[in-house]
Symmetry: C2
Subunit: 325 residues, 2 copies
Protein backbone atom coordinates (compact mmCIF):
# COMPACT_ATOMS: atom_id res chain seq x y z
CA UNK A 1 0.00 0.00 0.00
CA UNK A 2 1.28 3.42 -0.87
CA UNK A 3 1.95 6.01 1.77
CA UNK A 4 -0.71 8.29 0.39
CA UNK A 5 -3.53 6.11 1.71
CA UNK A 6 -2.13 5.40 5.16
CA UNK A 7 -4.29 8.14 6.67
CA UNK A 8 -7.57 8.28 4.83
CA UNK A 9 -9.26 10.66 7.27
CA UNK A 10 -7.72 13.98 8.22
CA UNK A 11 -10.08 16.20 10.20
CA UNK A 12 -9.07 19.85 9.99
CA UNK A 13 -9.91 22.37 12.73
CA UNK A 14 -12.42 24.67 11.06
CA UNK A 15 -15.72 26.32 11.91
CA UNK A 16 -18.84 25.15 10.01
CA UNK A 17 -20.40 27.77 7.73
CA UNK A 18 -23.44 29.75 8.84
CA UNK A 19 -26.86 28.19 7.95
CA UNK A 20 -28.04 31.35 6.14
CA UNK A 21 -24.88 31.34 4.06
CA UNK A 22 -25.79 27.82 3.03
CA UNK A 23 -29.15 28.89 1.60
CA UNK A 24 -27.49 31.78 -0.23
CA UNK A 25 -25.05 29.46 -1.99
CA UNK A 26 -27.26 26.47 -2.89
CA UNK A 27 -30.15 25.94 -5.29
CA UNK A 28 -33.63 25.22 -3.87
CA UNK A 29 -35.29 21.95 -5.03
CA UNK A 30 -37.80 21.94 -7.89
CA UNK A 31 -40.63 20.86 -5.59
CA UNK A 32 -40.17 23.68 -3.03
CA UNK A 33 -43.06 25.86 -4.22
CA UNK A 34 -45.27 22.81 -4.71
CA UNK A 35 -44.45 21.64 -1.17
CA UNK A 36 -45.11 25.10 0.24
CA UNK A 37 -48.59 25.28 -1.31
CA UNK A 38 -49.43 21.64 -0.56
CA UNK A 39 -48.47 21.84 3.12
CA UNK A 40 -50.56 24.98 3.67
CA UNK A 41 -53.54 23.45 1.85
CA UNK A 42 -53.08 20.20 3.78
CA UNK A 43 -52.91 21.80 7.21
CA UNK A 44 -55.90 24.05 6.67
CA UNK A 45 -57.98 20.95 5.80
CA UNK A 46 -57.25 19.34 9.17
CA UNK A 47 -59.24 19.32 12.39
CA UNK A 48 -57.57 22.03 14.45
CA UNK A 49 -57.54 19.82 17.57
CA UNK A 50 -55.28 17.23 16.03
CA UNK A 51 -51.56 17.33 16.79
CA UNK A 52 -49.32 17.57 13.72
CA UNK A 53 -46.02 15.77 13.17
CA UNK A 54 -43.36 16.48 10.61
CA UNK A 55 -41.54 13.17 10.17
CA UNK A 56 -38.28 13.24 8.23
CA UNK A 57 -37.05 9.90 6.95
CA UNK A 58 -34.29 8.32 4.88
CA UNK A 59 -30.80 9.55 4.09
CA UNK A 60 -29.70 12.71 2.30
CA UNK A 61 -27.18 12.61 -0.53
CA UNK A 62 -24.23 14.91 -1.13
CA UNK A 63 -23.18 15.25 -4.78
CA UNK A 64 -19.46 15.09 -5.56
CA UNK A 65 -19.98 16.56 -9.03
CA UNK A 66 -22.30 19.24 -10.40
CA UNK A 67 -23.30 16.85 -13.18
CA UNK A 68 -23.91 14.22 -10.58
CA UNK A 69 -22.63 10.74 -11.23
CA UNK A 70 -21.28 10.17 -7.73
CA UNK A 71 -22.54 11.20 -4.34
CA UNK A 72 -21.99 10.45 -0.68
CA UNK A 73 -25.06 8.83 0.83
CA UNK A 74 -26.16 8.13 4.39
CA UNK A 75 -27.20 4.64 5.29
CA UNK A 76 -30.97 4.64 5.90
CA UNK A 77 -33.77 2.64 4.30
CA UNK A 78 -36.35 4.80 6.07
CA UNK A 79 -37.60 1.99 8.30
CA UNK A 80 -37.74 4.08 11.50
CA UNK A 81 -39.41 7.06 9.86
CA UNK A 82 -42.04 5.12 7.89
CA UNK A 83 -42.95 2.86 10.83
CA UNK A 84 -43.16 5.90 13.13
CA UNK A 85 -45.43 7.75 10.70
CA UNK A 86 -47.85 4.81 10.83
CA UNK A 87 -47.87 4.89 14.64
CA UNK A 88 -48.38 8.67 14.76
CA UNK A 89 -51.36 8.37 12.41
CA UNK A 90 -52.79 5.60 14.61
CA UNK A 91 -52.50 7.95 17.60
CA UNK A 92 -54.51 10.67 15.86
CA UNK A 93 -51.66 12.75 14.47
CA UNK A 94 -51.70 14.52 11.15
CA UNK A 95 -48.39 13.61 9.48
CA UNK A 96 -46.21 15.41 6.97
CA UNK A 97 -43.77 12.76 5.77
CA UNK A 98 -40.62 14.34 4.33
CA UNK A 99 -38.75 11.36 2.92
CA UNK A 100 -35.90 10.37 0.64
CA UNK A 101 -37.24 9.48 -2.79
CA UNK A 102 -37.60 5.68 -3.13
CA UNK A 103 -37.02 5.06 0.57
CA UNK A 104 -39.66 3.22 2.62
CA UNK A 105 -43.13 4.76 2.86
CA UNK A 106 -45.84 4.21 5.49
CA UNK A 107 -47.91 1.04 4.84
CA UNK A 108 -46.12 0.42 1.52
CA UNK A 109 -42.86 -0.32 3.36
CA UNK A 110 -43.70 -4.04 3.67
CA UNK A 111 -43.81 -4.46 -0.10
CA UNK A 112 -41.37 -2.04 -1.73
CA UNK A 113 -37.94 -3.39 -0.82
CA UNK A 114 -37.95 -7.07 -1.68
CA UNK A 115 -36.61 -9.19 -4.50
CA UNK A 116 -39.91 -10.40 -5.96
CA UNK A 117 -41.29 -6.91 -6.52
CA UNK A 118 -44.96 -6.05 -6.90
CA UNK A 119 -45.53 -8.63 -9.64
CA UNK A 120 -44.48 -11.37 -7.23
CA UNK A 121 -47.58 -10.66 -5.14
CA UNK A 122 -49.95 -10.80 -8.09
CA UNK A 123 -51.70 -13.40 -10.23
CA UNK A 124 -54.23 -13.17 -13.09
CA UNK A 125 -57.81 -13.48 -11.79
CA UNK A 126 -58.96 -15.36 -14.90
CA UNK A 127 -61.31 -12.57 -15.98
CA UNK A 128 -58.76 -10.28 -17.60
CA UNK A 129 -57.96 -8.73 -14.25
CA UNK A 130 -55.15 -9.17 -11.74
CA UNK A 131 -55.46 -10.03 -8.05
CA UNK A 132 -53.19 -10.38 -5.04
CA UNK A 133 -52.24 -14.04 -4.46
CA UNK A 134 -54.37 -15.67 -1.79
CA UNK A 135 -51.45 -16.26 0.58
CA UNK A 136 -50.84 -12.48 0.78
CA UNK A 137 -54.44 -11.25 0.56
CA UNK A 138 -55.14 -10.88 4.29
CA UNK A 139 -51.99 -8.90 5.10
CA UNK A 140 -52.21 -6.74 1.99
CA UNK A 141 -55.90 -6.02 2.57
CA UNK A 142 -55.12 -4.94 6.13
CA UNK A 143 -52.33 -2.57 5.01
CA UNK A 144 -54.46 -1.31 2.13
CA UNK A 145 -57.31 -0.43 4.49
CA UNK A 146 -54.93 1.53 6.73
CA UNK A 147 -53.36 3.18 3.67
CA UNK A 148 -56.83 4.33 2.54
CA UNK A 149 -58.02 5.20 6.06
CA UNK A 150 -55.18 7.64 6.74
CA UNK A 151 -54.80 9.09 3.24
CA UNK A 152 -56.38 12.37 4.32
CA UNK A 153 -54.07 12.79 7.31
CA UNK A 154 -50.83 11.98 5.49
CA UNK A 155 -48.91 14.26 3.13
CA UNK A 156 -45.74 12.89 1.53
CA UNK A 157 -42.96 15.17 0.25
CA UNK A 158 -39.74 13.82 -1.29
CA UNK A 159 -36.12 14.95 -1.16
CA UNK A 160 -32.91 13.50 -2.53
CA UNK A 161 -29.96 15.76 -1.79
CA UNK A 162 -28.93 17.45 1.46
CA UNK A 163 -29.80 20.75 -0.18
CA UNK A 164 -33.33 19.60 -1.13
CA UNK A 165 -33.84 18.43 2.44
CA UNK A 166 -32.65 21.63 4.14
CA UNK A 167 -34.70 23.96 1.92
CA UNK A 168 -37.82 21.83 2.46
CA UNK A 169 -37.21 21.50 6.20
CA UNK A 170 -36.94 25.28 6.59
CA UNK A 171 -40.01 25.89 4.42
CA UNK A 172 -42.22 23.45 6.29
CA UNK A 173 -40.89 24.56 9.69
CA UNK A 174 -41.88 28.16 8.99
CA UNK A 175 -45.39 26.98 8.05
CA UNK A 176 -45.74 24.83 11.19
CA UNK A 177 -44.27 27.45 13.55
CA UNK A 178 -47.57 29.34 14.11
CA UNK A 179 -49.13 26.09 15.37
CA UNK A 180 -46.66 26.22 18.28
CA UNK A 181 -46.63 23.31 20.71
CA UNK A 182 -49.22 21.44 18.63
CA UNK A 183 -46.46 20.61 16.13
CA UNK A 184 -43.98 17.82 16.72
CA UNK A 185 -40.77 17.62 14.70
CA UNK A 186 -39.72 13.99 14.42
CA UNK A 187 -36.34 14.34 12.73
CA UNK A 188 -35.44 10.73 11.90
CA UNK A 189 -33.76 11.44 8.56
CA UNK A 190 -30.05 10.58 8.33
CA UNK A 191 -28.61 13.94 7.36
CA UNK A 192 -25.12 14.31 5.90
CA UNK A 193 -22.49 15.90 8.11
CA UNK A 194 -20.18 16.85 5.26
CA UNK A 195 -20.70 18.35 1.82
CA UNK A 196 -18.89 20.02 -1.06
CA UNK A 197 -20.28 23.49 -1.80
CA UNK A 198 -21.65 23.65 -5.33
CA UNK A 199 -19.16 26.32 -6.47
CA UNK A 200 -16.25 24.15 -5.30
CA UNK A 201 -17.51 21.03 -7.03
CA UNK A 202 -16.08 19.37 -10.11
CA UNK A 203 -18.19 20.33 -13.13
CA UNK A 204 -17.91 16.93 -14.79
CA UNK A 205 -17.50 13.33 -13.75
CA UNK A 206 -14.30 13.00 -11.72
CA UNK A 207 -11.74 11.18 -13.86
CA UNK A 208 -10.03 8.12 -12.45
CA UNK A 209 -7.00 7.97 -14.71
CA UNK A 210 -4.62 9.76 -12.42
CA UNK A 211 -4.45 7.56 -9.35
CA UNK A 212 -5.77 8.46 -5.90
CA UNK A 213 -8.54 10.92 -5.20
CA UNK A 214 -8.56 13.38 -2.35
CA UNK A 215 -11.94 14.82 -1.41
CA UNK A 216 -12.04 17.87 0.81
CA UNK A 217 -15.49 18.22 2.34
CA UNK A 218 -17.06 21.01 4.37
CA UNK A 219 -18.91 20.43 7.59
CA UNK A 220 -22.67 20.87 7.17
CA UNK A 221 -24.00 23.70 9.34
CA UNK A 222 -26.02 22.50 12.33
CA UNK A 223 -29.58 23.34 11.29
CA UNK A 224 -31.13 22.23 14.56
CA UNK A 225 -30.01 25.53 16.05
CA UNK A 226 -31.91 27.87 13.68
CA UNK A 227 -34.84 25.43 13.61
CA UNK A 228 -35.25 25.55 17.40
CA UNK A 229 -34.26 29.20 17.88
CA UNK A 230 -35.79 30.91 14.84
CA UNK A 231 -37.86 28.77 12.47
CA UNK A 232 -40.18 26.98 14.90
CA UNK A 233 -39.29 28.12 18.44
CA UNK A 234 -42.39 26.80 20.26
CA UNK A 235 -42.69 23.41 18.59
CA UNK A 236 -41.86 20.07 20.19
CA UNK A 237 -38.61 18.92 18.62
CA UNK A 238 -37.31 15.35 18.69
CA UNK A 239 -33.95 14.74 17.05
CA UNK A 240 -32.25 11.40 16.44
CA UNK A 241 -28.67 10.41 16.98
CA UNK A 242 -27.24 7.27 15.41
CA UNK A 243 -23.79 6.14 16.48
CA UNK A 244 -21.76 2.97 16.15
CA UNK A 245 -19.65 3.62 19.25
CA UNK A 246 -21.71 3.11 22.46
CA UNK A 247 -19.39 5.34 24.49
CA UNK A 248 -20.24 8.38 22.37
CA UNK A 249 -24.01 8.00 22.44
CA UNK A 250 -25.12 9.59 25.72
CA UNK A 251 -22.50 12.37 25.86
CA UNK A 252 -23.20 13.45 22.28
CA UNK A 253 -26.95 13.44 22.88
CA UNK A 254 -26.62 15.54 26.06
CA UNK A 255 -24.30 17.91 24.23
CA UNK A 256 -26.86 18.34 21.43
CA UNK A 257 -29.63 19.15 23.94
CA UNK A 258 -27.45 21.75 25.66
CA UNK A 259 -26.38 23.27 22.37
CA UNK A 260 -29.70 23.44 20.54
CA UNK A 261 -32.18 23.63 23.42
CA UNK A 262 -34.77 21.25 21.97
CA UNK A 263 -36.81 18.69 23.92
CA UNK A 264 -35.63 15.13 23.23
CA UNK A 265 -32.86 13.18 21.55
CA UNK A 266 -33.64 9.62 20.54
CA UNK A 267 -30.28 7.89 20.70
CA UNK A 268 -29.56 4.56 19.06
CA UNK A 269 -26.75 2.32 17.91
CA UNK A 270 -26.42 1.06 14.34
CA UNK A 271 -26.42 -2.59 15.38
CA UNK A 272 -29.18 -2.57 18.03
CA UNK A 273 -31.44 0.24 16.73
CA UNK A 274 -34.30 -2.07 15.74
CA UNK A 275 -34.96 -3.22 19.31
CA UNK A 276 -33.21 -0.66 21.57
CA UNK A 277 -33.44 3.14 21.82
CA UNK A 278 -32.78 5.69 24.57
CA UNK A 279 -34.82 8.84 25.13
CA UNK A 280 -32.42 11.48 26.36
CA UNK A 281 -33.58 14.73 27.93
CA UNK A 282 -31.73 17.58 29.59
CA UNK A 283 -32.59 16.95 33.21
CA UNK A 284 -33.23 13.20 33.49
CA UNK A 285 -31.28 9.98 33.10
CA UNK A 286 -31.50 8.24 29.71
CA UNK A 287 -34.83 6.39 29.38
CA UNK A 288 -34.32 2.98 27.77
CA UNK A 289 -36.95 1.47 25.49
CA UNK A 290 -36.41 -2.03 24.18
CA UNK A 291 -38.39 -5.01 22.93
CA UNK A 292 -37.41 -8.70 23.17
CA UNK A 293 -35.67 -10.20 20.12
CA UNK A 294 -38.57 -12.65 19.96
CA UNK A 295 -41.24 -9.95 19.47
CA UNK A 296 -39.01 -8.32 16.86
CA UNK A 297 -38.97 -11.55 14.89
CA UNK A 298 -42.74 -11.73 15.23
CA UNK A 299 -42.92 -8.45 13.30
CA UNK A 300 -43.44 -6.04 16.20
CA UNK A 301 -41.81 -2.63 15.70
CA UNK A 302 -40.12 -0.77 18.54
CA UNK A 303 -41.62 2.35 16.94
CA UNK A 304 -44.93 1.39 18.61
CA UNK A 305 -43.37 1.96 22.03
CA UNK A 306 -41.17 4.84 20.96
CA UNK A 307 -43.95 6.85 19.33
CA UNK A 308 -46.41 6.13 22.18
CA UNK A 309 -43.89 7.48 24.71
CA UNK A 310 -43.05 10.54 22.59
CA UNK A 311 -46.74 11.30 22.05
CA UNK A 312 -47.27 11.10 25.81
CA UNK A 313 -44.44 13.58 26.39
CA UNK A 314 -45.67 15.81 23.59
CA UNK A 315 -49.07 15.95 25.31
CA UNK A 316 -47.39 16.97 28.59
CA UNK A 317 -45.41 19.60 26.69
CA UNK A 318 -48.57 21.04 25.13
CA UNK A 319 -50.30 21.43 28.49
CA UNK A 320 -47.18 22.78 30.18
CA UNK A 321 -46.89 25.43 27.47
CA UNK A 322 -50.58 26.37 27.66
CA UNK A 323 -50.29 26.69 31.47
CA UNK A 324 -47.45 29.17 31.17
CA UNK A 325 -49.47 31.29 28.73
CA UNK B 1 -15.31 30.41 2.23
CA UNK B 2 -12.17 29.16 3.90
CA UNK B 3 -9.04 28.46 1.93
CA UNK B 4 -9.10 24.79 2.88
CA UNK B 5 -12.02 24.11 0.53
CA UNK B 6 -10.77 26.05 -2.49
CA UNK B 7 -9.45 22.86 -4.12
CA UNK B 8 -11.78 19.99 -3.31
CA UNK B 9 -10.20 17.55 -5.78
CA UNK B 10 -6.51 16.75 -5.80
CA UNK B 11 -5.65 13.81 -8.05
CA UNK B 12 -2.35 12.22 -7.10
CA UNK B 13 -0.19 10.33 -9.59
CA UNK B 14 -0.38 6.76 -8.38
CA UNK B 15 -0.80 3.31 -9.87
CA UNK B 16 -4.03 1.39 -9.11
CA UNK B 17 -3.59 -1.76 -7.02
CA UNK B 18 -3.54 -5.18 -8.64
CA UNK B 19 -6.96 -6.92 -8.95
CA UNK B 20 -5.75 -10.05 -7.15
CA UNK B 21 -4.50 -7.93 -4.29
CA UNK B 22 -8.01 -6.53 -4.03
CA UNK B 23 -9.55 -9.96 -3.47
CA UNK B 24 -6.89 -10.77 -0.88
CA UNK B 25 -7.72 -7.69 1.16
CA UNK B 26 -11.54 -7.60 1.00
CA UNK B 27 -14.31 -9.80 2.39
CA UNK B 28 -16.50 -11.79 -0.02
CA UNK B 29 -20.28 -11.13 0.17
CA UNK B 30 -22.55 -13.43 2.20
CA UNK B 31 -24.40 -14.60 -0.92
CA UNK B 32 -21.25 -15.68 -2.85
CA UNK B 33 -21.61 -19.42 -2.23
CA UNK B 34 -25.37 -19.25 -2.79
CA UNK B 35 -24.79 -17.42 -6.08
CA UNK B 36 -22.13 -19.92 -7.15
CA UNK B 37 -24.46 -22.89 -6.62
CA UNK B 38 -27.52 -21.12 -8.05
CA UNK B 39 -25.77 -20.02 -11.26
CA UNK B 40 -24.45 -23.54 -11.96
CA UNK B 41 -27.87 -25.08 -11.25
CA UNK B 42 -29.55 -22.40 -13.39
CA UNK B 43 -27.26 -22.84 -16.40
CA UNK B 44 -27.45 -26.63 -16.41
CA UNK B 45 -31.26 -26.35 -16.59
CA UNK B 46 -31.11 -24.33 -19.81
CA UNK B 47 -31.40 -25.40 -23.44
CA UNK B 48 -27.77 -25.57 -24.57
CA UNK B 49 -28.56 -23.71 -27.83
CA UNK B 50 -29.65 -20.56 -26.08
CA UNK B 51 -27.20 -17.68 -25.72
CA UNK B 52 -26.57 -16.56 -22.15
CA UNK B 53 -26.17 -12.97 -20.96
CA UNK B 54 -24.77 -11.73 -17.68
CA UNK B 55 -26.36 -8.31 -17.20
CA UNK B 56 -24.96 -6.12 -14.43
CA UNK B 57 -27.14 -3.24 -13.32
CA UNK B 58 -27.31 -0.43 -10.79
CA UNK B 59 -24.55 1.36 -8.89
CA UNK B 60 -22.01 -0.04 -6.47
CA UNK B 61 -21.41 1.56 -3.07
CA UNK B 62 -18.09 2.27 -1.38
CA UNK B 63 -18.25 2.38 2.42
CA UNK B 64 -16.42 5.21 4.20
CA UNK B 65 -16.56 3.41 7.54
CA UNK B 66 -16.24 -0.24 8.55
CA UNK B 67 -19.43 0.12 10.59
CA UNK B 68 -21.07 1.66 7.60
CA UNK B 69 -23.16 4.76 8.13
CA UNK B 70 -21.83 6.64 5.10
CA UNK B 71 -20.83 5.47 1.66
CA UNK B 72 -20.05 6.86 -1.76
CA UNK B 73 -22.67 5.74 -4.28
CA UNK B 74 -22.86 5.84 -8.05
CA UNK B 75 -25.88 7.37 -9.68
CA UNK B 76 -27.90 4.58 -11.32
CA UNK B 77 -31.50 3.50 -10.87
CA UNK B 78 -30.86 0.40 -12.98
CA UNK B 79 -33.11 1.53 -15.84
CA UNK B 80 -30.76 0.50 -18.63
CA UNK B 81 -29.87 -2.85 -17.12
CA UNK B 82 -33.43 -3.88 -16.25
CA UNK B 83 -34.87 -2.75 -19.60
CA UNK B 84 -32.03 -4.52 -21.44
CA UNK B 85 -32.62 -7.75 -19.52
CA UNK B 86 -36.24 -7.72 -20.71
CA UNK B 87 -35.11 -7.29 -24.33
CA UNK B 88 -32.50 -10.04 -24.08
CA UNK B 89 -35.13 -12.44 -22.72
CA UNK B 90 -37.46 -11.49 -25.59
CA UNK B 91 -34.67 -12.35 -28.05
CA UNK B 92 -34.25 -15.83 -26.57
CA UNK B 93 -31.39 -15.17 -24.18
CA UNK B 94 -31.00 -16.77 -20.80
CA UNK B 95 -30.23 -13.90 -18.40
CA UNK B 96 -28.28 -13.74 -15.16
CA UNK B 97 -29.21 -10.34 -13.70
CA UNK B 98 -26.57 -9.12 -11.23
CA UNK B 99 -28.15 -6.00 -9.77
CA UNK B 100 -27.88 -3.52 -6.93
CA UNK B 101 -30.30 -4.42 -4.17
CA UNK B 102 -33.50 -2.33 -4.45
CA UNK B 103 -32.60 -1.02 -7.91
CA UNK B 104 -34.96 -1.58 -10.83
CA UNK B 105 -35.75 -5.17 -11.83
CA UNK B 106 -37.02 -6.52 -15.17
CA UNK B 107 -40.84 -6.18 -15.55
CA UNK B 108 -41.18 -4.87 -11.98
CA UNK B 109 -39.33 -1.67 -12.92
CA UNK B 110 -42.55 0.11 -13.93
CA UNK B 111 -44.00 -0.23 -10.43
CA UNK B 112 -41.20 -0.14 -7.89
CA UNK B 113 -39.97 3.46 -7.96
CA UNK B 114 -43.01 5.68 -7.64
CA UNK B 115 -44.64 7.65 -4.88
CA UNK B 116 -47.89 5.72 -4.58
CA UNK B 117 -46.20 2.40 -3.97
CA UNK B 118 -47.78 -1.01 -4.51
CA UNK B 119 -50.85 -0.19 -2.44
CA UNK B 120 -51.66 2.68 -4.77
CA UNK B 121 -52.33 0.15 -7.55
CA UNK B 122 -54.66 -1.97 -5.43
CA UNK B 123 -58.26 -1.94 -4.24
CA UNK B 124 -60.38 -4.38 -2.20
CA UNK B 125 -62.33 -6.74 -4.48
CA UNK B 126 -65.30 -6.85 -2.11
CA UNK B 127 -64.86 -10.55 -1.36
CA UNK B 128 -62.08 -10.29 1.21
CA UNK B 129 -59.49 -10.20 -1.54
CA UNK B 130 -57.47 -7.46 -3.21
CA UNK B 131 -57.28 -6.65 -6.92
CA UNK B 132 -55.38 -4.29 -9.19
CA UNK B 133 -57.44 -1.16 -9.97
CA UNK B 134 -59.19 -1.40 -13.33
CA UNK B 135 -57.26 1.53 -14.82
CA UNK B 136 -53.96 -0.38 -14.34
CA UNK B 137 -55.19 -3.93 -14.98
CA UNK B 138 -54.28 -4.22 -18.67
CA UNK B 139 -50.73 -2.95 -18.29
CA UNK B 140 -50.07 -4.90 -15.09
CA UNK B 141 -51.51 -8.09 -16.60
CA UNK B 142 -49.23 -7.71 -19.61
CA UNK B 143 -46.11 -7.25 -17.46
CA UNK B 144 -47.21 -10.04 -15.13
CA UNK B 145 -47.55 -12.45 -18.05
CA UNK B 146 -44.04 -11.59 -19.26
CA UNK B 147 -42.73 -11.84 -15.68
CA UNK B 148 -44.19 -15.37 -15.43
CA UNK B 149 -43.23 -16.36 -18.98
CA UNK B 150 -39.51 -15.64 -18.50
CA UNK B 151 -39.18 -16.74 -14.87
CA UNK B 152 -37.28 -19.90 -15.90
CA UNK B 153 -34.78 -17.99 -18.04
CA UNK B 154 -34.01 -15.26 -15.51
CA UNK B 155 -31.81 -15.56 -12.42
CA UNK B 156 -31.45 -12.49 -10.20
CA UNK B 157 -28.45 -12.00 -7.90
CA UNK B 158 -28.03 -8.88 -5.72
CA UNK B 159 -25.01 -6.83 -4.67
CA UNK B 160 -24.64 -3.64 -2.66
CA UNK B 161 -20.98 -2.74 -2.24
CA UNK B 162 -18.19 -2.58 -4.81
CA UNK B 163 -16.63 -5.55 -3.06
CA UNK B 164 -19.84 -7.63 -3.30
CA UNK B 165 -20.02 -6.81 -7.00
CA UNK B 166 -16.42 -7.70 -7.84
CA UNK B 167 -16.46 -11.02 -6.00
CA UNK B 168 -19.76 -11.99 -7.65
CA UNK B 169 -18.60 -10.81 -11.09
CA UNK B 170 -15.46 -12.95 -10.88
CA UNK B 171 -17.37 -15.96 -9.58
CA UNK B 172 -20.02 -15.85 -12.32
CA UNK B 173 -17.43 -15.09 -15.02
CA UNK B 174 -15.47 -18.21 -14.15
CA UNK B 175 -18.68 -20.27 -14.40
CA UNK B 176 -19.64 -18.75 -17.76
CA UNK B 177 -16.12 -18.98 -19.24
CA UNK B 178 -16.47 -22.63 -20.43
CA UNK B 179 -19.49 -21.57 -22.52
CA UNK B 180 -17.14 -19.39 -24.58
CA UNK B 181 -18.65 -17.20 -27.27
CA UNK B 182 -22.17 -18.26 -26.27
CA UNK B 183 -21.89 -15.96 -23.24
CA UNK B 184 -22.42 -12.23 -23.48
CA UNK B 185 -21.25 -9.93 -20.70
CA UNK B 186 -23.48 -6.85 -20.62
CA UNK B 187 -21.71 -4.73 -18.02
CA UNK B 188 -24.17 -1.87 -17.48
CA UNK B 189 -23.60 -1.48 -13.73
CA UNK B 190 -22.16 1.85 -12.59
CA UNK B 191 -19.02 0.68 -10.81
CA UNK B 192 -17.11 2.91 -8.40
CA UNK B 193 -13.74 4.21 -9.55
CA UNK B 194 -12.48 5.01 -6.06
CA UNK B 195 -12.60 3.20 -2.74
CA UNK B 196 -11.06 3.13 0.72
CA UNK B 197 -9.41 -0.23 1.51
CA UNK B 198 -11.08 -1.85 4.50
CA UNK B 199 -7.92 -1.78 6.64
CA UNK B 200 -7.56 1.97 6.05
CA UNK B 201 -11.16 2.74 6.93
CA UNK B 202 -12.45 4.46 10.04
CA UNK B 203 -13.77 1.84 12.46
CA UNK B 204 -16.68 3.98 13.64
CA UNK B 205 -18.89 6.72 12.28
CA UNK B 206 -16.73 9.63 11.21
CA UNK B 207 -17.21 12.45 13.71
CA UNK B 208 -18.15 15.87 12.42
CA UNK B 209 -17.12 17.95 15.42
CA UNK B 210 -13.75 18.98 14.16
CA UNK B 211 -14.50 20.89 10.98
CA UNK B 212 -13.61 19.81 7.47
CA UNK B 213 -13.12 16.25 6.35
CA UNK B 214 -10.47 15.06 3.95
CA UNK B 215 -11.09 11.71 2.31
CA UNK B 216 -8.21 9.98 0.60
CA UNK B 217 -9.51 7.33 -1.78
CA UNK B 218 -7.73 4.63 -3.79
CA UNK B 219 -8.36 4.01 -7.44
CA UNK B 220 -10.31 0.81 -8.02
CA UNK B 221 -8.32 -1.70 -10.07
CA UNK B 222 -9.60 -2.09 -13.65
CA UNK B 223 -11.32 -5.47 -13.55
CA UNK B 224 -12.15 -5.52 -17.21
CA UNK B 225 -8.55 -6.56 -17.89
CA UNK B 226 -8.54 -9.81 -15.85
CA UNK B 227 -12.13 -10.49 -16.93
CA UNK B 228 -11.22 -10.38 -20.64
CA UNK B 229 -7.73 -11.87 -20.31
CA UNK B 230 -8.17 -14.52 -17.61
CA UNK B 231 -11.69 -15.05 -16.24
CA UNK B 232 -13.73 -15.39 -19.46
CA UNK B 233 -11.35 -14.96 -22.42
CA UNK B 234 -13.63 -16.24 -25.20
CA UNK B 235 -16.86 -14.54 -24.15
CA UNK B 236 -18.47 -11.56 -25.89
CA UNK B 237 -17.89 -8.57 -23.63
CA UNK B 238 -19.84 -5.32 -23.83
CA UNK B 239 -18.80 -2.59 -21.42
CA UNK B 240 -20.53 0.74 -20.81
CA UNK B 241 -19.03 4.18 -20.45
CA UNK B 242 -21.03 7.03 -18.99
CA UNK B 243 -19.58 10.52 -19.18
CA UNK B 244 -20.89 14.04 -18.73
CA UNK B 245 -18.31 15.65 -20.99
CA UNK B 246 -19.01 14.85 -24.69
CA UNK B 247 -15.39 15.47 -25.68
CA UNK B 248 -14.15 12.62 -23.47
CA UNK B 249 -16.64 9.99 -24.66
CA UNK B 250 -15.14 8.57 -27.88
CA UNK B 251 -11.45 8.83 -26.92
CA UNK B 252 -12.04 7.12 -23.55
CA UNK B 253 -14.08 4.34 -25.18
CA UNK B 254 -11.40 3.69 -27.83
CA UNK B 255 -8.74 3.72 -25.12
CA UNK B 256 -10.69 1.11 -23.12
CA UNK B 257 -10.98 -1.17 -26.16
CA UNK B 258 -7.25 -0.92 -26.84
CA UNK B 259 -6.38 -1.51 -23.21
CA UNK B 260 -8.73 -4.38 -22.35
CA UNK B 261 -9.21 -6.01 -25.75
CA UNK B 262 -12.94 -6.68 -25.44
CA UNK B 263 -15.53 -6.34 -28.21
CA UNK B 264 -17.75 -3.28 -27.71
CA UNK B 265 -18.08 -0.17 -25.60
CA UNK B 266 -21.54 1.35 -25.34
CA UNK B 267 -20.85 5.04 -24.78
CA UNK B 268 -23.43 7.46 -23.48
CA UNK B 269 -23.82 10.88 -21.90
CA UNK B 270 -25.57 11.44 -18.59
CA UNK B 271 -28.07 13.89 -20.06
CA UNK B 272 -28.93 12.13 -23.35
CA UNK B 273 -28.47 8.48 -22.37
CA UNK B 274 -32.17 7.62 -22.55
CA UNK B 275 -32.42 8.34 -26.29
CA UNK B 276 -28.83 8.34 -27.60
CA UNK B 277 -25.99 5.78 -27.37
CA UNK B 278 -22.91 5.04 -29.46
CA UNK B 279 -21.54 1.56 -30.14
CA UNK B 280 -17.79 1.88 -30.26
CA UNK B 281 -15.55 -0.85 -31.66
CA UNK B 282 -11.83 -1.02 -32.32
CA UNK B 283 -11.79 -0.79 -36.11
CA UNK B 284 -14.94 1.12 -37.06
CA UNK B 285 -16.37 4.59 -36.57
CA UNK B 286 -18.77 5.09 -33.65
CA UNK B 287 -22.22 3.67 -34.51
CA UNK B 288 -24.98 6.00 -33.28
CA UNK B 289 -28.30 4.65 -32.07
CA UNK B 290 -31.03 7.12 -31.15
CA UNK B 291 -34.80 7.34 -30.91
CA UNK B 292 -36.97 10.45 -31.35
CA UNK B 293 -37.95 12.31 -28.15
CA UNK B 294 -41.55 11.64 -29.16
CA UNK B 295 -41.20 7.84 -29.08
CA UNK B 296 -39.38 8.13 -25.76
CA UNK B 297 -42.35 9.96 -24.29
CA UNK B 298 -44.62 7.24 -25.72
CA UNK B 299 -42.75 4.77 -23.50
CA UNK B 300 -40.42 3.23 -26.08
CA UNK B 301 -37.01 2.25 -24.67
CA UNK B 302 -33.80 2.75 -26.65
CA UNK B 303 -32.76 -0.60 -25.14
CA UNK B 304 -34.95 -2.28 -27.76
CA UNK B 305 -32.65 -1.00 -30.52
CA UNK B 306 -29.47 -1.30 -28.48
CA UNK B 307 -30.02 -4.91 -27.45
CA UNK B 308 -31.21 -5.95 -30.93
CA UNK B 309 -28.00 -4.54 -32.46
CA UNK B 310 -25.78 -6.12 -29.80
CA UNK B 311 -27.50 -9.49 -30.19
CA UNK B 312 -26.90 -9.27 -33.96
CA UNK B 313 -23.19 -8.61 -33.39
CA UNK B 314 -23.01 -11.32 -30.74
CA UNK B 315 -24.39 -13.78 -33.32
CA UNK B 316 -21.72 -12.69 -35.83
CA UNK B 317 -19.09 -13.10 -33.13
CA UNK B 318 -20.27 -16.64 -32.32
CA UNK B 319 -20.05 -17.75 -35.97
CA UNK B 320 -16.71 -16.01 -36.51
CA UNK B 321 -15.29 -17.82 -33.48
CA UNK B 322 -16.68 -21.21 -34.58
CA UNK B 323 -15.19 -20.68 -38.06
CA UNK B 324 -11.75 -20.12 -36.65
CA UNK B 325 -12.02 -23.32 -34.60
Amino acid sequence: MSETIEVPLVPVELKAIDPDTYFDHNQPPKNLQWAHDKVIEFITQQDSNRPIALVTSGGTTVPLENNTVRFVDNFSAGTRGSASAEQLLALGYVVIFLYRENSLQPFNRHYSHNSQGMLGYLTPDGNGGVKVKDEYAIKVLNDLELFEKYKGQLLQVTFTTLSDYLFLLREISLILAPLGSRSMFYLAAAVSDFFIPSHNMAEHKIQSGTGDLTLRMNQVPKFLRPLVKNWAPECFVVSFKLETDPDLLAPKAKYALEKYGHQIVVANLLNTRKWQVWLITKHHDPYLLQIPQQELENGRDIEQDLVAELARRHKQYISSVSETQ
